[in-house]
Symmetry: C2
Subunit: 69 residues, 2 copies
Amino acid sequence: MCEQNVYLLQNGREELVMEAVDVIDPEGENGYRVVGIFGDQKIIRGRLRHMSLVEHRIVFQAEGEEDCA
Amino acid sequence: MCEQNVYLLQNGREELVMEAVDVIDPEGENGYRVVGIFGDQKIIRGRLRHMSLVEHRIVFQAEGEEDCA
């Protein structure tokens, strides 16, 4: 099974948005639609921060969240 | 094996950028660094267009490429 877990970095913490994600599509200017293998959907506002597919991790960063350099 | 294949939509065609991708990170304002499981790296200029993880497909769209509505 090659689905990924999607996290959102918000207020300095990574929150799990959805497990077993299949599809991710852009949604508007600053968002993404995340669709699970069972068809459940969520909209994330933010941008892609990091993907590590071998670790099953896709991390988005909420708008306004500071970059940690 | 849960790595993904990364494609770039450019001039109306999808070109395979890299197979067996592990990591994708933002690189500058409009780019992404794509890293394979063996450490090979490429920089893509463009934005995320579609991910279908069950199909092992991650598609980026080159800057200036028209959206097909």
